[in-house]
Amino acid sequence: MTIYAYCHTTPQLPSAFDAKVHSVFNHAVNLSLQKTNHITTILKATDILYPGCLCLKETTRTFRDIFHPGQLVSYNSGKMILGETGERIDTSNAKLIDCKLAHLTISPSQYSLTIYEMLSALMQKHITHRFKNDSKLQIQLQIKLEYGLACLITAVIEQDNALALNAIRQLVALGMGLTPSGDDILVGFLAGLRTNQELIADHETFLQKFTSDVLLLLNHTNVISQQYLLHAVNGYFSTAIIALLTAISSGKSITSIEECAKKLLTIGHTSGVDILAGLFGALSILYKSHIISNKQFSIFNHWR
């Protein structure tokens, strides 16, 4: 039986590789490429695409029916063959979707206070309860995430690479699930940071040091989350993040921007709001004078 791939995203898969099935979920499967140990993800057709993934049209079966952990997979010239079952995945006609974030400039006039307030309000409305009750663990997690993000913002405003490294260290792999909240915040922050060129003096050098610090701490988190961080470091993000930043940069209406933000919020259980928090934090640097004069920064309320 042959399954046809619907699309694939940049960065593209190598033209040939052997891999092992790493983990299987109903709508996603992670492959561990044998030479590099990089993870690549196969997804069921979805309206949000992620960098370096392959998207299938298969609809009748869950991925647990097709893949199992440890299964060998071989890929060559657009054809993937699954070990044991001999099933094939044909990627030769799959559409290529670019997940590279273009060089966008967002100025305070594009990122107006109205948009700032709208995103802030949206996050506050999507309160993320990591646990049902107010356990000590939850409170502690909230404090750490808030503090880590505050440190990231301060590090950029102060152009302080040492503080940035410390903030990344505090956030990486912090929280539950496959992509912990701290990692999601970092992904969002990296996306936002790539658009702030005009306001950060010597932006390129700072960004380079910042991304190399993320790389330095990559192995502190699990291999699945590592892959998303690695893509973010290289400028690749999910289509939901790209759409939101593009909408802001191109001066789209506030309604369109809000729609994009809401779409981003649909990612995972807590990932969407965490990514948006990181992205919002990075963009908020555009209002650094406002932030400095208002010590109570509204972004933090969204976890309460």
Binding site: T59, T60, R61, L137, L141, K144, A173, T221, N222, K262
Partner: protein, 520 residues
């Protein structure tokens, strides 16, 4: 106090599964804290700082760490075993199915396995749902389509196909039905009987079938049509088919039709079909004037509750007369009592609904009695809320609207959003009444009272601290046979100071009476 930790190598679960597991273990008696989290350096620090881990361990970011803390070693060990079983159980079920049996990969394969099946429930993404439905019908199966986002063109095509081949097509976006006594989707456990229901409103169907059960009647079949069926584009194909099916069914003596008001042309052909049924047909076009319905065997009623009451009376061969709300001295007396304790300025109702039909019905009833009701699904376009996250004067919110459910389960399952909104409304000094619906049955939260009561208690405290008094009015949609234990749910809600009424309509009437009493 005893704490136990266990590391499971290379185990990956998403955050929802891990949170559910943590909550499940934490709810065991004698267990004070539990957590299942990836064993990264930062998470270990987090566990240490929150007192869940007693001493540091080596980080393993790709391994899952379970930590359980409780009253004694025995309890903690047992809870840890349960946690591991729950994690492995889920995995084993999947693996064993994949390895030992051939997975069912198509409707045809399912039919080969069970040739007696005659209904397919389709819940795939909307883009693919129409093709799957067509496949199912071409194999001779009736269809219930839970999926939404199916185009009008596809819906009409599927419904015409089903009509031509004498198959029932329920949907798209059909969340509830009861077929041959089997609840499908969100549905209540009701007694079987001689009343058949066709509804284009999900919680409307749940309210009517539950109330029929509670009033002593029973259901032969309850058919959902999907919310677009009575639009001009679709033409009520499924509702007319449902009427014909129930008319031909020897076990059905009375038919009930439920819908928001159809387009006039569709109403005409639906009523024509109903007249031809040759059995009593009770009709509630929610919010529409029941007087517009005429015909020898047709009875228009003003509320979902009245539809249930009329159906039960007619099924017993008795006459039915719609009671006037004004006659209900019980509600009037209750409203007078509830007013005591309000301070000047408290004047508005905030309805927070998990069922769209409940919200719609309440808005109509409130609108007639107290004036404009603002909403995210207003009955008058002028009453659209400018900001759906913030209420204005009298407001009723359908929290099941797509706007609120992105990235989170439906509010009948997940109470977080409604609980937050309850506190938001309680902080507003203009609010006098908070109006709620609680929906039981399959698919809904298994213990809604325990989910919502903490928020109600906090809301009462919040109001009390500001010298105010808040009134909570609610109705519970469910039956004694529902898995949630109706009596327990109602008892807990009453204990939390919630005034319960028999139906959503009564809750809305009572809320309106309270407001009118404030006005004096």
């Amino acid at each position: 106090m005893k704490t136990l930790q266990r590391l499971i190598p290379n185990l990956y679960r998403d955050s929802v599964s891990l949170m559910q597991l943590s909550e499940e273990i934490q709810s065991i008696e004698g267990i004070t804290q539990a957590s299942a989290i990836m064993a990264s350096e930062n998470n270990i620090s987090l566990l240490l700082e929150s007192g869940l881990l007693e001493s540091s361990i080596e980080p393993h970011p790709n391994d899952l760490l379970i930590v359980v803390s409780g009253e004694n070693s025995k309890l903690v060990e047992k809870a840890m075993e349960t946690a591991e079983e729950l994690l492995m159980e889920r995995k084993d079920v999947v693996d064993s199915e994949a390895i030992q049996t051939t997975p069912l990969r198509s409707i045809q394969m399912s039919l080969e396995k069970d040739w007696e099946a005659n209904l397919a429930l389709i819940s795939s993404p909307g883009t693919y749902a129409a093709a799957e439905a067509l496949k199912a019908m071409s194999l001779g199966l009736h269809v219930l389509m839970f999926s939404d986002n199916v185009s009008y063109e596809d819906e009409v095509m599927l419904k015409k196909y089903s009509e031509k081949h004498d198959l029932l097509f329920m949907g798209p976006d059909c969340g509830t039905a009861i077929i041959n006594g089997l609840p499908l989707g969100f549905a209540n456990v009701v007694k079987q009987g001689n009343i058949g229901v066709v509804a284009a409103a999900g919680t409307g169907l749940q309210q009517v079938t539950s109330l029929i059960d509670r009033k002593g009647g029973g259901i032969s079949q309850a058919i959902g049509t999907g919310g677009h069926d009575l639009s001009a584009k679709v033409g009520g194909i499924t509702m007319r088919q449902g009427i014909r099916a129930l008319a031909a069914d020897s076990k059905t003596d009375v038919i009930v039709l439920i819908s928001k008001p159809p387009s006039p042309s569709v109403m005409e052909i639906v009523l024509e079909e109903a007249e031809k049924a040759g059995k009593p047909v009770v009709i509630n076009f929610i919010g529409a004037d029941p007087e517009v319905i005429s015909g020898n065997n047709l009875l228009g009623v003003p509320t979902l509750e009245a539809a249930a009451a009329a159906a039960v009376n007619l099924a017993l061969g008795e006459k039915y007369e719609t009671p006037r709300h004004d006659d209900s001295s019980d509600l009037k007396g209750l409203a007078e009592n509830l007013v005591a304790g309000f301070i000047p300025g408290q004047a508005f109702i905030r309805g927070l609904f998990s069922g769209g039909t409940f919200c719609f019905e309440a808005m109509h009833l409130l609108g007639k009695n107290i004036g404009p009701v603002y909403s995210n699904i207003p009955i008058n376009p002028d009453w659209m809320l400018k900001d759906v996250w913030n209420s204005y004067r009298h407001t009723a919110i359908d929290l099941g609207d797509d706007l609120f459910t992105q990235g989170r389960p439906h509010p009948m399952i997940d109470f977080r959003l409604r609980n937050e909104r309850i506190l938001q409304e309680a902080a507003d000094p203009e609010v006098a009444v908070i109006l709620l619906d609680i929906v039981l049955g399959y698919g809904s939260n298994m213990d809604p009272a325990s989910e919502i009561i903490p928020a109600i208690n906090k809301a009462h405290t919040l109001a009390k601290n500001s010298g105010r008094h808040l009134v909570f009015i609610a109705s519970v949609c469910g039956t004694e046979s529902d898995p949630q234990n109706l009596h327990q749910q109602e008892y807990s809600l009453r204990e939390a100071g919630v005034t319960l009424t028999e139906s959503n309509a009564q809750a809305a009437f009572l809320a309106a009476d309270v407001i009118n009493n404030i006005k004096g």
